[in-house]
């Protein structure tokens, strides 16, 4: 009974767990209730039902996205994690096979057992089609195979998969041949006709052998120890089983022990994982441009690029450039030249650049400007990663120049990113002042064209440019006059804008507004953007001190912030204690740090707050004290000074006291009971107003779009996407702050 309710998914309060029924006789799991997005790209459909292979079921189970149930005599029973995993072995799927599968799945790729089929006719037998290609070929003892009787029967008569021809198979082959038409297809030299295959070989550690094989020579391949195990498709959140993307490569698993993750990624890098991801990005870009989806271009494409960025090498980048850009195109040689220089200066591999493939120039006619700019972007980010700033500057300057030739809204997101690099590279080469007027011109153009990405990015770049040279006046003038889109297109840019604005306000002594801005920036910044958060918190802590507030201790001790914020922490301690001597000592000791952070002048301003905090302590502790004692306690030079300073503090309301000039005393007034004043009511009101404000903001922020209904809770995949997005954001900040 319990299971019954669980199967319908109602007993669990709508948690997004799918249920599947394990059918031992077919060695398949039939999905009973489907939840979450991940299942959309797994399993195959037959007769309107969704079936999963065991490795798919285990993967979902371990992700806690699926519960596997089994029919017994007693009714349905839920399988535990261990027994689910045991099913792997008893169905002849080795651990190495599963490790490969899970790793590829973790990389957001779409993975199927070879031959990849998504839809089966009702009369087809799944076990005949897949033939236990997942069998790890000897990694499992023979006896284990015999146990699963029906399966071993099938697998004992070795049929080449080619003979298992079906509708889906043909379709797939068609895809493969279509693939070959595409110019960006990753093309290992030896393997012209087929997608590249990789082999994990045990004997020579982790070498990867691209197969030199005749077209469609499946049969010859499969008889030996090597068999095609998995087919891999590019990531695609809108995957459809009816129209799968062209597959990127096959994976073979040879005999041997399961390999470690590092080995896997090394293999992937060399077998063209990078090229595959780039190829996926290109197809995403092309489809987005076709459908004029600017959001995809600014969002997903750049996110996916970040994912691939750390794996880029000069070789596969130049391959990419060669395949994407036509050979005669003027920009191509520039890009390639710099890549070549990059690779030679790094001395990665002594190998020459791969021979140029003649097929590459075929797509010269319909070259998308987006694609061209994307190539620039990749090359620049690669050069920046390798810290080759002068080279990067040349490339990015050419890219920006090229951008001026186009006026396309689909370019905006990419262009904004290129501008960002333009400024970043110039900052590194110390020529930031030279590009200011160019940035201003670009900003003007962006405003005229309603290019919101460009406007936001360029405004921030300009503010950064001005603040770099301490030109707060100009920055404020530009900021107050420049047009800003009402709704910010990107949180990153909004965070930066708030940070710059907070800095301007702090310099202008408008501390309340500065605090608001900086606080918002600190809150909106993702937790992984440590560099940015450090910078914001430095300013924020000073502004709060200048306002007379004492920052929380925890603000200085958050993970990653403690060390860089240490000088600011000691400053805060000195201000809180009202100890002028300690304050001066800290300020002198860290003068270099403060000068570098450009906060030296704020520190100087803090002196007054130190004195006032000290005075307040004295005021609370003594009912009457001579000014001479006050002077010595605060470390002030003379009694006359002290008298004036105390008088001003009284006037400003920091201290509740009266001076007696004739006797040289400071008389503290009795501390009134604060609860007899309007103070508590005011504090209460401030809090209530804050809560109401939050509520109203939240209501306002809720928008309903058509997709809202289909979007349920966050799936594992979208969670991963979000993590990737955050990492990218963090990286972008680090780049900016780690200068």
């Amino acid at each position: 009974m319990e299971i019954e309710t669980a199967v319908t998914g109602e007993g669990l309060g709508g948690s997004p767990i799918s249920f599947a029924l394990w059918q031992p006789e077919r060695a398949l799991a039939q999905v009973l209730s489907q939840r979450g997005k991940l299942l959309m790209r797994m399993g195959f459909m037959q007769g309107g039902k969704l079936y999963l292979h065991i490795e798919e079921a285990v993967y979902l189970k371990l992700q806690n996205l699926l519960d596997l149930v089994i029919d017994t005599k007693k009714g349905r029973e839920q399988l535990s994690v261990e027994s689910t995993v045991n099913l792997l072995v008893s169905n002849g799927v080795g651990k190495d096979f599963y490790a490969v599968y899970a790793h590829l799945m973790d990389a957001s790729l779409i993975v199927r057992r070879h031959p990849a089929q998504w839809l089966l006719l009702p009369e087809e037998d799944a076990n005949c089609i897949w033939l236990m290609t997942g069998t790890p070929h000897g990694a499992q003892p023979e006896s284990m195979m015999v146990e699963g009787s029906s399966i071993s029967k099938v697998s004992s008569k070795v049929l080449p998969p080619v003979s298992c021809t079906s509708e889906g198979r043909k379709k797939n082959m068609k895809h493969v041949s279509e693939l070959k038409q595409r110019s960006w297809w990753p093309r290992p030299v030896e393997c012209q006709a087929e997608p590249p295959r990789c082999q994990v070989d045990k004997s020579s550690p982790f070498t990867l052998t691209p197969f030199a094989c005749a077209p469609c020579d499946y049969a010859g391949l499969e008889d030996a120890t090597l068999r095609l195990a998995l087919d891999v498709f590019p990531p695609n959140s809108k995957f459809s089983r009816k129209r799968p993307d062209p597959l990127i490569y096959h994976v073979c698993i040879s005999q041997g022990r399961p390999q470690g993750r590092e080995v896997m990624s090394a293999i992937e890098a060399s077998v063209g994982q990078v090229s595959a991801q780039l190829a996926a990005n290109v197809s995403l870009l092309e489809s987005a441009v076709r459908s004029k989806e600017t959001r995809v271009l600014a969002g997903r494409l750049l996110r996916q690029t970040t994912a691939v960025r750390k794996n880029l090498s000069a070789e596969n980048l130049s391959d990419f450039v060669k395949s994407v850009l036509p050979r005669g195109y003027p920009g191509t040689s520039l890009l390639l030249e710099h890549l070549k220089m990059a690779s030679s200066s790094m001395e990665t591999d002594g190998t020459d650049a791969p021979a140029e493939s003649p097929a590459a120039s075929s797509s010269a006619v319909g070259l998308l400007p987006e694609l061209e700019i994307y190539a620039y972007l990749l090359v620049v980010s690669f050069l920046v990663d390798k810290k080759l700033y002068p080279e990067a500057r040349e490339v990015v300057t050419a890219g920006v120049k090229r951008l001026a030739d186009f006026n396309r809204r689909t370019l905006d997101g990419l262009a904004a990113r290129l501008y960002f690099y333009y400024s970043l590279v110039h900052e590194h080469t110390g020529t930031l002042a030279d590009i200011r007027s160019h940035l201003l011109a670009l900003h003007r153009t962006a405003v005229l064209r309603h290019d919101e990405y460009g406007q936001e990015t360029l405004l921030n770049l300009l503010l950064r440019n001005y603040l770099h040279f301490n030109l707060y006046d100009q920055a404020e003038k530009l900021r107050s006059k420049a047009q800003r889109p009402e709704v910010s297109r990107s949180t990153q840019q909004l965070c930066r804008y708030l940070y710059y604005l907070g800095r301007i306000r702090a310099i202008q002594l408008e501390y309340t507004e500065a605090k608001d801005c900086l606080q918002q920036a600190a809150r909106k910044a993702p937790s992984s953007a440590v560099g940015f958060r450090v910078a914001v918190n430095k300013w924020l802590s000073l502004v709060r001190l200048l306002l007379g507030e004492v920052p929380e201790h925890s603000e200085f001790t958050a993970a990653g912030l403690a060390k860089p914020l240490a000088p600011y922490f000691s400053i805060a301690q000195a201000v809180r204690a009202g100890d002028l001597a300690a304050f001066r000592q800290v300020a002198d000791a860290n003068v270099k740090v403060f000068a570098m952070d450009k906060t030296q002048n704020l520190i100087v301003r803090l002196q007054y707050n130190v004195i006032r905090a000290g005075l307040r302590r004295i005021n609370l502790a003594y009912s009457r004290i001579s000014l001479k004692d006050v002077a010595s306690r605060l470390g002030l030079a003379s009694v006359e000074d002290t008298e004036c300073i105390v008088a001003k503090a009284i006037r400003d309301g920091g201290v509740d006291a009266v001076l007696d000039h004739a006797n040289g005393w400071m008389l503290s007034k009795d501390v009134a009971d604060i609860y007899s004043t309007a103070e508590p009511a005011a504090a209460f009101h401030a809090r209530v107003a804050f809560c109401l404000d939050i509520h109203n903001e939240a209501v306002r922020a809720m928008r309903f779009d058509a997709a809202a209904n289909s979007k349920k809770l966050e799936t594992a995949e979208s969670a991963r996407e979000r993590v990737i997005a955050e990492e990218e954001l963090a990286k972008a900040y680090e780049e900016e702050e780690g200068i």
């Binding site: 100087v604 002196q607 008088a647 009284i650 007696d660």
Partner: protein, 263 residues
């Protein structure tokens, strides 16, 4: 070239007139000079790279520096600001093209002092951010920076004491103006901080020349002077209390309205 020579001659005349304190002549020459400057192509905003560019820039900077010191002598703050803003371009944008001016720190310090006197503290700090650490050490600027800190802290007596120690006689005009500002500040503070203060003490505090001056000032501020001492009434009980019920009702009504919207 001819323009350049003419301008140079005029500049010499201007310098002569300024040093002789012939202010009306100097003003006349200055307006002629400024017209001449418009004929020089190497100056901002054109910044053409003529062969005599450096000479032209130097000349223009000299002229404007003279103009600034002239406007101090004329005690014309608006003209000072105008001239300084023109001059500032030469200190920032064309800094790389010219040798550093001897006058620079002094003039920048003067401008800071002007901002301080006019109580434009935000702009004061904005300008301060632009200065290099070396410039901040120079006597003209460090003096003004120190003044600002004293003002912030409330060490008014130090500000008043600093009067005789001017880094340059040009500072005198603004310092005098600062004095009256400071005196008002002290008076403000005294009202709140003291119950009574003898006239002689007040004289000392606010640096008046004589008791009579102090008494006149007290009368001007409507202070109650009895028996040779000033009696301050102290701050009146805050009248805000009267508004409290109204405010309370206001708040309660707002809450009610907002909660209605939520429910």
């Amino acid at each position: 070239m001819a323009v350049l020579n003419d301008t140079t001659k005029l500049l010499d005349q201007l310098k002569g007139a300024v040093s002789k304190n012939d202010l009306s002549t100097a003003t006349r020459i200055l307006s002629a000079l400024k017209l001449k400057l418009t004929e020089l192509p190497a100056l901002p905003p054109l910044l053409q790279k003529t062969p005599t560019a450096q000479k032209e820039l130097l000349l223009a900077r000299d002229v404007l520096e003279q103009a600034v010191s002239l406007s101090v002598k004329l005690q014309d703050e608006a003209a000072f600001e105008r001239n300084y803003l023109q001059l500032k371009t030469y200190y920032t944008d064309t800094r790389a093209l010219l040798p550093i001016s001897q006058q620079e720190n002094l003039i920048v310090g003067l401008d800071l002092l002007r901002l301080l006197v006019q109580n434009r503290i935000a702009e004061f700090h904005t300008e301060l951010e632009l200065l290099s650490p070396q410039a901040l050490q120079s006597p003209g600027i460090s003096h003004v920076v120190q003044l600002e800190q004293w003002l912030m802290e409330g060490a008014y007596n130090k500000v008043l004491d600093a009067r005789p120690k001017l880094p340059d006689p040009a500072y005198g005009y603004f310092m005098e103006k600062l004095l009256s500002t400071v005196r008002d500040e002290i008076a403000d503070c005294s009202e709140r901080a003291y119950k009574t203060l003898s006239i002689s003490n007040a004289k000392k505090l606010m640096l008046f020349g004589s008791d009579q001056e102090a008494a006149a000032y007290a009368a001007q501020r409507n202070w109650d002077v009895r028996d040779g001492a000033i009696h301050f009434q102290g701050a009146e009980e805050n009248p805000i209390n009267n508004h409290q019920p109204v405010e309370l009702i206001d708040n309660a009504l707002t809450y009610a309205r907002e909660i209605e919207r939520i429910v």
